[in-house]
Amino acid sequence: MTVISIDKDPGAMTMTIVAEFDAPARRVWEVWANPRQLEKWWGPPTYPATVVDHDLSPGGKVGYFMTGPEGDRHRGWWRILMVDGPHRLEFEDGFADEAGTPDPAMPTTTARVSLSEQPGGGTRMTIETTFPSLEAMEQLIAMGMEEGIGLAVGQIDGLLRAAPNG
């Protein structure tokens, strides 16, 4: 895996990251389309994800929870906006309550994923994440951005500094 580029635009409230993988697009697509593969990478090792619903069709829902070191569970959901395997996936990503019901008080982000096979045989994956408003960004930074993990900013900072590349 090679990260090709990262573009962070606070004004547009968007981050775009481009990476290349040494595998065909249909294989890279599997890490999104197969819930057992998705849960291997969505959460960090300290907060592994368990995918409970996985309907990758327009309007479909993906439900998941992440389990923390204390056994604490943090639930999230995707609503599929667009799907065109193995090339494109767009979804809204939000927080859910303990029953898995989307929490309307929490902001959602929108992710656009595109995969394109490269002439050399690898696959380029572009992921664009957009926030709805600055207020939403403030709210999320307050909670920590680990997808539903309610860490305070100070804790997140510590976590990132502890990471090898942080």
Partner: protein, 88 residues
Amino acid sequence: MQEEHSVSALAGRYPMSFAAVQKHVAVLEHAGLVSKRREGREQLVPGNVNAVLAARRLLDQLEAVWRDRLDRIGEILATDTQNEGADA
């Protein structure tokens, strides 16, 4: 969290009114993060409450989250190759 600012100092530093800074602080307080601290007559808050600074920090954190995720995806794909010799 490195430093604290007083709400009035923040309002002086950024093109925002005291009331606007207070509103931002209130959002963060409401979300359960910031505990405003009083020292004498000053209200002290963490230094990252400014909205644009917060946006930058959040994008930095999101970058770290996705770099880790992409690393893990890379590992999953590498495991395929080890197990199967080539892609199935």
